[in-house]
Symmetry: C2
Subunit: 196 residues, 2 copies
Amino acid sequence: MTNAAALAPERTAPRKRDADATRAAILAAAKVHFAKSGYDGAYLRDIAAEAGVDAALINRYFGGKDGLFAAALKDSIRPDAISQWSRENFAHDVAKMMAGHAHQHVERTHAFEFLLQAATNPTTAPLLNLAVQERFMAPIRSWIGGDHVEARARLLASVFIGLLVERLIRDEPLEGSEREIFIERTAALLQSLVDK
Amino acid sequence: MTNAAALAPERTAPRKRDADATRAAILAAAKVHFAKSGYDGAYLRDIAAEAGVDAALINRYFGGKDGLFAAALKDSIRPDAISQWSRENFAHDVAKMMAGHAHQHVERTHAFEFLLQAATNPTTAPLLNLAVQERFMAPIRSWIGGDHVEARARLLASVFIGLLVERLIRDEPLEGSEREIFIERTAALLQSLVDK
DNA sequence: GACCTATGTCATTCCTCGTTGACATTCGCC
DNA sequence: GGCGAATGTCAACGAGGAATGACATAGGTC
């Protein structure tokens, strides 16, 4: 409170008037906060502050906290990535990723944390169910192909999710030979599910 | 609500004076509510009501919501079960369980939901980390034994968690041959991690 | 340039929920 | 039986946060 200069023009130079941009800014901030703190722990005031916006705007644009959450959720499942996975590298790439720190892939980790939050909140869970089925399981099914697609897809998804959760919970990657073995075995495991 | 006799004394027949019993009742109710709604979503008034107790008692016995949560957490990880798993049946038993409905194992499902809630809340996560390492990972390590224990234990835990999460999210079990294949492959996968 | 709407800000209200302290009652003990 | 501590109940407080409506202003349109 000592810097007069900072306060001089101050009065929060009223944001440029660009609805789309502010909407996007709010959404981006919301995703981060929801991921970090969950639905209840994320405060509209904080989100608004981070977006450089008054909290009342959230209500105007998203119709309240629920609406904002739903919008953020919809924006967080990106199925396009799946179809681009390469059949040869997929298993090894994923395995290597899972062996590292969660915060080495901040973007995706945030998205995943966010989804996990949605899964554990009874009001948002149904919403998530649908999204996951349509935008995650379906692409996986069509990507792996072959026999017993259902069983394999489900098992693959489980392993994938489990690796993510485990990495999230305990962010101390393995080192040395244990790390090598972990990558090797994880890759083998995933590959066997992709192959047939 | 038809039984007049039950209502006779009315005025909420002031609970029997048994500190241990009420403590236990509160704890049981708390575990259910925390599992269902998470830390923030679970309300002390609701928990107290379900335990048939005044909310103020929670403060007396557990020193507040935090204390209650910690107590519930501590009570939710039961490592003893792990060491009793049979090496031969483990993989198949788990696989079959995972192929069923989550609500077929209400007790454990609740416990797991509760832990997942703890994992996704920044204030409770550190607490969980510690508990999981000491009371879940450590027993697993010593149970599987053999080479590369670290890597295998971690992978095993991941798969285990993943199966639980997947089952929780999407509670439609597979049917028919897909179910058989799922069980078979899941069992094989688990067994290979246990064996060596 | 005047008007009108979309956009942004501010102050306030309302509600929920954890917590607290005073009060009531039962039980163990002498 | 009377006293004190343990147990249980009740009412009220206060913090915190979402939602609301009135107000301010930029920017396009005629």
